[in-house]
């Protein structure tokens, strides 16, 4: 048993770490309701005014809409490609299988700036117009990894005898996929998609290198902070982004936790 002193010390330590992580976030949320445009302490009273300003700001709206669209497209693309690759790599044994597995996961290990520069020069070189599509392609590089990783981890945990049992009972390949493999992997797919969306939604670096004239929400925030204007609006927008990012992450964690394959 540890002493009471140590216990108290540990608790304080944990509290400090949590404060370190969450005070900045809390501050932003607090300042989003600040009446004054100057970020001083204590704040000059509560107001929902900046929410209304942000809502009616067409730049913010467009940026938000673009971010949502990019997130949905990138996630959709990742779901299709990532799950097909995961299924193929899991199901079939062939030469170079492990190599492909590694190549797929590499983009998430690479610094975003490398992915960004690489895509940027690729698009410039091939003369592809920078725009929504290029951003989607950029985001898809890491969204695929998230979906792939989630799914293949699940597929590896599902005992191989289940697919065999299904075939043994008369199911064709597609029936096995539909009645056994997909239902068992569904929660992993959902949590992978949610994580992918969350990653796409707040991605800055890859976006900077792949976006055209348009701004995604993070890019708009970045610009606004650099110019030092519209700070109250930035706080509002960041608060919304926090909410939008947190919800899928929490959902994903929940689903991944409860959807474990049990026997």
């Amino acid at each position: 048993m540890e002493s009471t002193g140590l216990r108290v010390a540990l608790r304080i330590w944990v509290a400090l770490v949590l404060l370190f992580l969450f005070v900045p976030i809390a501050a932003i949320i607090l300042y989003a309701f600040n009446k004054s445009t100057i970020e001083s302490w204590p704040i000059g009273g509560f107001t929902g005014h900046w929410f209304s300003v942000a809502w009616h700001d067409s730049q913010v709206r467009e940026a938000l809409w673009l971010s949502v669209r990019v997130g949905l497209f990138a996630t959709g693309l990742a779901l299709v490609l990532g799950s097909m690759v995961a299924y193929a790599l899991h199901q079939f044994r062939f030469y170079g299988r492990d190599g492909i597995s590694l190549l797929l996961v590499l983009p998430i290990a690479l610094p975003g700036i490398i992915t960004g520069i690489a895509l940027n020069s690729f698009f410039s070189f091939t003369g592809i117009q920078f725009g929504t599509l290029t951003v989607v392609a950029g985001h898809a590089t890491f969204c695929i990894v998230v979906v792939f990783n989630n799914l293949i981890a699940r597929l590896r945990r599902v005992p191989g005898s289940l697919a065999e049992a299904s075939m043994d009972l008369g199911a064709r390949g597609w029936q096995t996929l539909r009645f056994v493999t997909i239902p068992l992997a569904a929660t992993a797919l959902v949590s992978g998609a949610l994580l992918a969306f969350a990653l796409s939604f707040d991605e800055v670096i890859v976006t900077v290198f792949t976006a055209g004239a348009q701004n995604t929400l993070p890019l708009w925030i970045f610009g606004a902070i650099r110019l030092g204007q519209q700070l109250p609006e930035v706080n509002v927008v960041v608060t919304i982004v926090i909410a939008l990012t947190l919800i899928p992450v929490i959902l994903a964690a929940r689903i991944a936790g409860s959807g474990a394959v049990t026997r």
Partner: protein, 350 residues
């Protein structure tokens, strides 16, 4: 729709006439994994309705043989026939064979009823009919009313029964069981052995049963194939395998080994066929008698086993019922004689 209580297989099997093809026939079956030879030219024929057991030590190729018959893997060479039809290249879903897996392989996301229904569902049997057959299968394995549970809410023995029900509800020609009782404790195991035998008689399906438990094989089977190193050592009835082992391996694997060498021949005598004599006992007539010394006495309840080191070389285990026999107490170190009738000793063919 006309309601047919039992699907057509049994009738079809019966109408094939007296010259019935074996339910399962394999010949020249070979399978290697890399440089490991799992099966080395196996041939066997299983009669319809037979309870056929594959018995052998770990790694002898039992599971491999079962997986080849089920169709999960292709043989490197050889043929597999089901009721006379060559199915060597047929995928598992097109073979009229079902498997009870050692780990049960129940679908965790389906209820017990959905699990059992699965085979009928993928074959598009009408829902009404499915419900009835599932209920009947649940009754047969004595789990009525558990259809709504998930497999995770069942005990090991119950899961085993569900796995059995899921297989037999399809009325396959052949049921393959890979150590289905391996995960159960001794008591439940014995209970399930009886249960399996009852179900097999009730449905009349050919069973191919894998075990490495020789007692289980002896008590349950019509015939046993003893396997070792990817080959078959002997195929015979339990009595035959026990009393007339064809190879030293079979003699050693079934029952207590009791192998001695006399005049260049390998001889085996079962422990219970040997009479233990102390110095004053009269040897029974027409017996072969040898002297030796007791090196170990093992009390196992209904009987006691004596390990006797023979003067002429070798060692024999002798077992004696503890049913108030008249013989004197024999302890370790005692000088004794052992006697057996020539007919009880078996010379193993070279």
């Amino acid at each position: 729709m006309i309601e047919v209580p039992t699907p057509e297989q049994p009738a079809a099997a019966g109408s094939q006439g007296s010259q019935q093809a074996p339910a399962v026939y394999v010949a020249g079956l070979r399978k290697s994994y890399g440089d490991v030879t799992a099966l080395n030219g196996v041939e066997l024929a299983v009669a319809p309705g037979e309870f056929f057991t594959l018995l052998g030590p770990s790694g002898s190729g039992k599971t491999t043989l079962l997986r080849l018959i089920a169709g999960f893997e292709r043989p490197d060479a050889g043929t597999i026939e089901l009721t006379g039809a060559d199915v060597t290249g047929t995928p598992p879903y097109a073979r009229d064979v079902n498997t009870v897996f050692q780990d049960y392989a129940l679908f965790p996301h389906m209820t017990v009823a959905e699990n059992i229904e699965y085979g009928l569902r993928v074959k598009r049997v009408p829902k009404q009919q499915r419900k009835q057959q599932v209920a009947r299968a649940l009754d047969m394995v004595r789990l009525p009313g558990l259809g709504a549970r998930k497999p995770s809410q069942l005990s090991g023995g119950q899961r085993q029964r569900v796995a059995l029900a899921r297989a037999i509800v399809n009325r396959p020609q052949v049921l393959l069981l890979d150590e289905p009782l391996g995960a159960l404790d001794l008591k439940l195991r014995q209970e399930m052995q009886l249960e399996l035998l009852r179900v097999q008689r009730e449905v009349g399906i050919t069973f191919i049963y894998v075990t490495h438990d020789q007692e289980e094989a002896l008590t349950m089977s019509d015939r046993i194939a003893v396997m070792s190193n990817g080959g078959i050592e002997q195929i015979a009835t339990p009595v035959e395998v026990y009393e007339h082992p064809r190879t030293p391996f079979v003699a050693g694997f079934i029952g207590v080994s009791n192998l001695i060498e006399r005049d260049g021949d390998q001889i085996t005598v079962r422990p219970e066929k040997i009479t233990l004599l102390t110095e004053h006992d009269q040897a029974p007539a027409d017996t072969h008698v040898e002297g030796g010394q007791v090196t170990d006495v093992i009390y196992v309840g209904v009987l006691t086993r004596y390990v006797v080191a023979l003067d002429a070389g070798g060692e024999l285990v002798v077992s004696r019922q503890n049913a108030g026999h008249s013989g004197a107490t024999v302890t370790r170190g005692n000088q004794v004689r052992v006697a057996w009738r020539a007919a009880q000793a078996f010379t193993i063919p070279r």
